[in-house]
Amino acid sequence: MDIVVCVKQVPEVAEAELEVAPDGSSIDTEDLVEDINEWDNYAVEEAIRLKEAHGGSVTVVTLGDEEAEDVLRRALAMGADAAVLIDEEGFEGSDAFGIAGGLYGVLKDMSCDLVLTGAQASDDGWGQVGLILAERLGLPFASLAVDIRIDGDTVFVNRELESNTQEKVALPLPALITIQTGINDPRYVSIMGIRKVRKIEIRETDREELGLSEKEVGFGGSGLASRTLSLPSAGAGAEILTGNLNEICEKTAQIIRERGGVA
């Protein structure tokens, strides 16, 4: 079972105080820590587990700057065997189709039984790259997988739907599956683990080597452009309490009491 996992490096924003950059259409990432996209982390873990159960190999592919090597090293430390870094130069401004085009450039020449991607990336949130990639590779696909079972040449996938329901689908291999969070418990990657894979060579490639023209990817190939980005304003029913901690606690307690939260 040879598996390819497409991963992305994204800024961590869970507890960050985000600020819109002066250009009005992006986030100021200066103070943000970069890490693997959460969905992709589950995808790598799932690939490693499938490899541990069925043998074979795992290759991780990313499109990014040289810093993105970190997420590849991290995946290698988790147990991936090889890694490919597509230089993002020339891909700036790409839409999902452009990104998928870059990944397709690498994957079209590889033989593999399964392609995994995260269901979406936390920064752009398109949720399209995996599916476009499947189309371009001509592979059957399933999205939002929360369970994967392989039986011979068939892969059974449980897809997460609304209201806690799951749909079980069967696909012939090779196939592409996009992974939902919670499908597994991703393992911890130790510093020592990352140091151990320091010497594994990462294949680097770029737009030209992949034979992609400026009209296919980047701004030139993009069907959409980001115009403005804004932080949500406090809507009705939301109240931001101010003051020092004592005052905030006092007000909170008062509100809870008023609304009948406590007797």
Partner: protein, 660 residues
């Protein structure tokens, strides 16, 4: 006739005995070798093999049983009776061998002394064994287990001794020697038998019985906890040489345990002192140091016959066992042979962290935060020095030079709201006393304690390097910490890290803030005037007291405040009970029991009827503060950091004080 004893008297064929002895020795050697091969697989890393402390421990704690007597006089006496009795009989047998094969000296008076010596040893052994059985099965001392080998081993030994006395008695009854009075025990046995011809035919039966029982006993030593008679002295010997830190090796040994750990696993007799001392066990968690040691003990792999660890025993304990330990060190404090379970736990965690798949989810989050944001609390580096900015504390990374003592605030004290009170109070006291100081501001990294305790050695190394680089960049010479954890890491683990990773020595003097406060009181830099009229108790943080021996500095400070009466809790100083926050447990709620360790502790504090429980560690402060609230003690008991208490006594009011 000269008093002496014929060897192999009436015993035929003698060669059979030698064959049996050789077989027993072979079985013994096989069992011992199997374990030695396991030991050889442990990490040694050039640990020295000799220290004066080694000899001291073997003599005082081994031969004289110092630690055993100190913790439990009855158990200590019982053990000494068995140990010395056994040793006496063993020496007697050796002497007999020398007498028979090398040169004859057990004749006449020497024989009589020898005889009375053996009688005494036999009686001591027998007394000790009965005492042991009474303690375990009649008194049912709670810390003792009642497993199969707990019964078989002493009963077997009793049979060995009794068959020995029987053989002697029968021989004396037949021989009726004139010196039989010297064999006071054998004589009593002899009196049971009428002297007759049939006794002569019974004598070989009794002799062979004794021989078989004894040889089988010797053969079984490496297979039961009996093995401790060989391994416990070895562990006493190697225990002072246990390395604090071993550089993480990329190739990595097959085992993560040290040579010392493997010896410890074989040396543990399951006496249960650690079970009584362990705060996790005390709070009802499914963990005890004793269980961990049994779980960690590997089956020998070099030889296929695994007789010692029954399969399944490992599974029943589970891999989660190692995450319960707070590394408080209470078990090490009471272990008669200095087995350091927290260190072995740490090695087990290192293996788990490297594998990565069995690390508890919350700990994974914590370690990732530590790596990315240099603190275990929040996914941001921004707020680390907010309190210091607000107070206008000097930031050495801004002034570019450490003029004065460097206050290493630590992650928890910097970020956690309750613990920040400690930092503000300490800064106020230093300011009041006119001591120049500053912090490392936003650049201050985590000292590495949490990573180290969690077994993430690679991360510890990175953080240690970051800290040391900052210290040297800003010319820091003296460091004072809020947390005993940072204090311990700087004081004990950094020097070992520098030594073993080829870095120059740290070149810094490290203090815990309690030591600085004590100095300020002694030099008169701070003087208390207002009597407080309070009864207080002091909770010893594990990493300040037990791990670093700082017991008196905080107590001296408390006693120097007029109108304060200090009362002690049941567990104090070396015996202090952990709050449950150490060893990474602060960030692992999933293991909490009911009552929590912190609740057990706060109840003990409440039992002293003190109005304030004072502590000297941000983790203890948070844990005890929470426990006070969950235990319904909000009205009767206050939890304060020593800094806050001192600041209150000095009337250094905290405008930002947010008493919640």
């Amino acid at each position: 006739m000269i008093p002496s004893r014929p060897l192999f008297w009436h015993i035929e064929p003698v060669w059979l005995f030698y064959v049996m002895a050789a077989t027993a020795s072979a079985v013994f050697a096989y069992g011992t070798l199997r374990r030695l091969f396991v030991w050889a697989g442990g990490v040694r890393n050039g640990t020295p093999f000799f220290s004066r402390e080694s000899m001291k421990r073997v003599f005082l704690d081994g031969i004289l049983g110092r630690r055993m007597l100190k913790e439990d006089v009855a158990a200590g006496m019982m053990h000494l009776l068995i140990f010395w009795g056994f040793l006496g009989l063993f020496a007697g047998t050796l002497l007999l061998g020398i007498h028979d094969y090398l040169f004859r000296f057990l004749d006449g008076t020497v024989y009589l002394v020898y005889s009375i010596f053996l009688e005494t040893a036999g009686m001591m052994l027998l007394t000790g064994l009965f005492w042991a059985l009474v303690r375990r099965y009649v008194q049912r001392v709670p810390r003792l287990e009642r497993r199969a080998d707990d019964l078989i081993v002493p009963v077997w030994l009793v049979l060995v001794v009794l068959s020995g006395f029987l053989t002697e008695g029968v021989r004396l009854a037949i021989q009726q020697p004139s010196w039989e009075g010297w064999s006071f025990a054998g004589l009593r046995v002899a009196a049971l038998f009428p002297s007759s011809g049939s006794l002569v035919s019974f004598y070989p039966v009794s002799w062979w019985l004794h021989a078989i029982l004894s040889l089988a006993f010797i053969a079984s030593i490496p297979y039961f906890k009996l093995f401790h008679i060989l391994t416990a002295p070895v562990h006493l010997y190697v225990s002072p040489c246990r390395p604090v830190f071993i550089p993480a090796d990329e190739k990595g040994p097959e085992h993560h345990y040290l040579f010392h750990d493997f010896i410890a696993f074989d040396a543990c007799t399951r006496c249960g002192r650690c079970v009584e001392a362990c705060p996790a066990t005390g709070a009802g968690e499914p963990f005890s140091p004793r269980d961990f040691l049994r779980w960690a003990r590997p089956s020998p792999s070099v030889f296929p016959l695994a007789l010692s660890v029954p399969e399944g025993e490992r599974d029943s304990c589970g891999d989660s066992l190692m995450w319960h330990c707070t590394t408080c060190g209470a078990c090490l404090e009471v272990c008669p042979i200095y087995i350091s379970t927290p260190d072995a736990v740490r090695r087990a965690r290192a293996a788990a962290v490297e594998d990565g798949t069995q690390v508890p989810t919350l700990l994974v989050d914590t370690l990732e935060k530590l790596y990315k944001y240099n603190n275990p609390w929040e996914a941001s580096k921004k707020n680390r020095n907010r309190w210091a900015r607000e107070m206008g504390v000097t930031d050495f990374t801004k002034t570019k030079k450490a003029d004065g003592i460097c206050y290493f605030v630590g992650c928890t004290t910097s970020i956690e709201t309750r613990a920040q009170g400690l930092a503000r109070a300490f800064s106020r006291i230093l300011g009041h006393a006119g001591i120049p100081f500053g912090t490392l501001g936003k650049k201050e990294p985590c000292c590495g304690d949490i990573a180290f305790r969690a077994g993430e050695d690679g991360l510890f190394e990175e953080q240690a390097e970051a800290c040391l680089d900052l210290f040297s960049r800003y010319g820091v010479e003296e460091v004072v910490t809020s947390s005993p954890h940072c204090f311990h890491t700087f004081r004990n683990e950094y020097p070992a890290f520098c030594r073993l990773s080829g870095r120059p020595p740290t070149g810094i003097s490290v203090f815990h803030y309690t030591q600085i406060l004590e100095r300020l009181v002694k030099t008169g830099a701070i003087r208390f005037k207002k009597p407080l009229g309070l009864t207080v108790t002091y909770h010893d943080p594990c990493y300040l007291g037990r791990h670093n021996g700082v017991f008196d500095a905080p107590r001296e400070v408390i006693r120097s405040i007029p109108g304060v009466s200090l009362v002690e809790m049941l567990h104090h100083r070396e015996k202090s009970l952990c709050c449950g926050g150490g060893g990474g447990r602060m960030w692992q709620e999933e293991f909490d029991s009911d009552p929590k360790m912190s609740e057990v502790r706060i109840r003990e504090a409440a039992a002293t009827s003190a109005q304030v429980v004072i502590t000297a560690c941000p983790l203890c402060l948070i844990m005890l503060e929470d426990a006070r609230k969950t235990s319904g003690l909000e009205d009767s008991l206050r939890v304060m950091d020593l800094n806050e208490f001192v600041a209150m006594a000095l009337d250094l009011a905290d405008e930002n004080k947010e008493e919640i």
